[in-house]
């Protein structure tokens, strides 16, 4: 009989018993609802073992790639180890490699990439501030190519961690980061699919990672990146993005400014509105939405109504911390 390792304990599964049924039988407290592979509330991550196709049915590609599976739809035939999504992770310490200003409010933080630190560009990590407060920052670096981790940190007025990063953090300082998590990243397999990337503010960080990852993996479909801010000064990495647009025929960079008259070469209007207006029907497209929560929420619904499949909409809303 196979053994299911979970939360530091081991449970013996009976023949043809699902992982969920096994844990329930052992009075383990876990989430579940439909027990029919539909509601996804019993989703877990398989740390040892390989999820079956049936146990990953309906999950997003990004989750499948991270070995997430539904406990109700998996019968263990060999020993497996499972963990709750996003938990059971150990933080690691690393050094600050470089700090560079991208604009008046945004600092580019490069950290030494710890050994065996794996991630997908666009995922986020939690960085610990001086008193243990944690904040999430998205990864803009290329996992397969850059030997550093790159974060874009906006100085939030009164922000405990961003304020410390902007005013006190120095090169060679030691910081603690969690493993990368999140499902907003590029997945290969459909190189011809058109991609629409919409971001506001430092929502560019994950999108910059995703864009470069897509190019690195030789994505062939059109890639439109809309980056928005209220003023032109709020945008950043403009030259880098213009260069990518110039070099790659399938990359189209659209800087958007929502207030006042924008400088030449920029579009007047909100990034999400312009993107949805200009691209029109989105059937078959893959959409990435990163930035302000209200923007992400409304753009998500509009992209869906414009024909994008829900499975093809990846969203990373920046939810302000409350503490």
């Amino acid at each position: 009989m196979p053994i299911i390792a979970f939360d530091g304990r081991e449970y013996l599964a009976e023949d043809s018993e699902s992982v969920l049924d096994c844990l329930i039988r052992h009075d383990v407290s876990v989430n579940y609802s439909c027990r029919a592979g539909v509601c996804q509330s019993c989703m877990m991550m398989m740390k040892e073992g390989t999820p079956s196709e049936a146990s990953q049915k309906g999950l997003k590609d990004a989750l499948k790639a991270q070995n997430y599976f539904l406990m109700c739809s998996y019968v263990a035939e060999e020993d497996i180890a499972i963990a709750r999504p996003g938990k059971d992770f150990q933080s690691v310490e690393t050094d600050v490699l470089a700090l560079d200003r991208l604009n008046a409010d945004v600092l580019r933080v490069r950290l030494v990439r710890p050994e065996n630190y794996s991630y997908f560009p666009g995922q986020f990590l939690n960085l610990q501030g001086p008193d243990g407060t944690e904040r999430s920052y998205s990864l803009a670096s290329l996992a397969d190519g850059d030997d550093f981790l790159e974060l874009h940190v906006r100085h939030i007025p009164g922000g405990k961690v961003s304020g410390w990063i902007h005013t006190a953090l120095k090169v060679d300082d030691r910081v603690s980061i969690s493993p990368a998590t999140g499902d907003c990243f590029y997945t290969p397999g459909q190189p011809g699919q058109n991609l629409l990337l919409i971001g506001t503010g430092t929502g560019l960080a994950p999108l910059y990672g995703i864009l470069r990852d897509a190019l690195h993996q030789e994505h062939q479909g059109e890639i439109h990146l809309y980056h928005g801010s209220s003023t032109a000064e709020g945008l950043y990495l403009i030259d880098e993005l213009k260069a990518l647009d110039a070099v790659h025929t399938n990359v189209h960079y659209h800087p958007c400014v929502s207030q006042g008259t924008p400088p030449a070469g920029m579009t007047a209007g909100r990034a999400d509105q312009k993107a949805l207006e200009e691209t029109g029907k989105l059937g078959g497209w893959r959409i990435y939405l990163c930035g302000r929560e209200d923007m992400v929420k409304s753009a998500r619904q509009k992209a869906f109504l414009a024909g994008a499949s829900l499975k093809d909409i990846y969203a990373d809303p920046f939810v302000p911390a409350v503490d």
């Binding site: 439909c34 029919a36 309906g58 869906f304």
Partner: protein, 122 residues
């Protein structure tokens, strides 16, 4: 049973094909979209999928009590027969779009109909 309604419709694959189309119709329908606005789209899609699986005669563990509890807050906001009819209509047009025969659509509508009183808390 190979000739169950669920299998004749195409099983899981049919639910997958229907869920985006159905949810999109519901969100675009001004008669009912206020009840679906401002909710987590992933959770809502999972619920739509569970509902379609049930309406297609597929495996589900819904009880009348679940239906009552799940919709009580909407009934309090005015959910009534006209809204229920609109959802069934969207369900029918979704299936039509997918090329399902009128006969099978009738069977699906009949299953959906069995939930009416529970959904409306009667």
């Amino acid at each position: 049973m190979s000739d169950s309604l669920f299998n004749r419709l195409g099983g899981d694959a049919a639910v997958d094909a229907a869920v985006d189309i159905f949810y999109r119709k519901v969100l675009a329908d001004d008669r009912i979209n206020e009840f679906f606005a401002d909710v987590d789209m992933d959770k809502q899609a999972a619920k739509q999928k569970a509902f379609l699986t049930m309406a297609f005669g597929g495996p589900n563990s819904y009880t009348g009590e679940d239906m009552r509890k799940g919709h009580a807050h909407l009934v309090a906001r005015g959910l009534n027969d006209s809204h229920f009819d609109a959802v069934v209509e969207n369900l029918g047009s979704t299936l039509k779009e997918l090329g399902v025969s009128d006969e099978l659509i009738g069977e699906v509508a009949a299953i959906a109909e069995t939930t009416r009183n529970d959904v409306l808390g009667r």
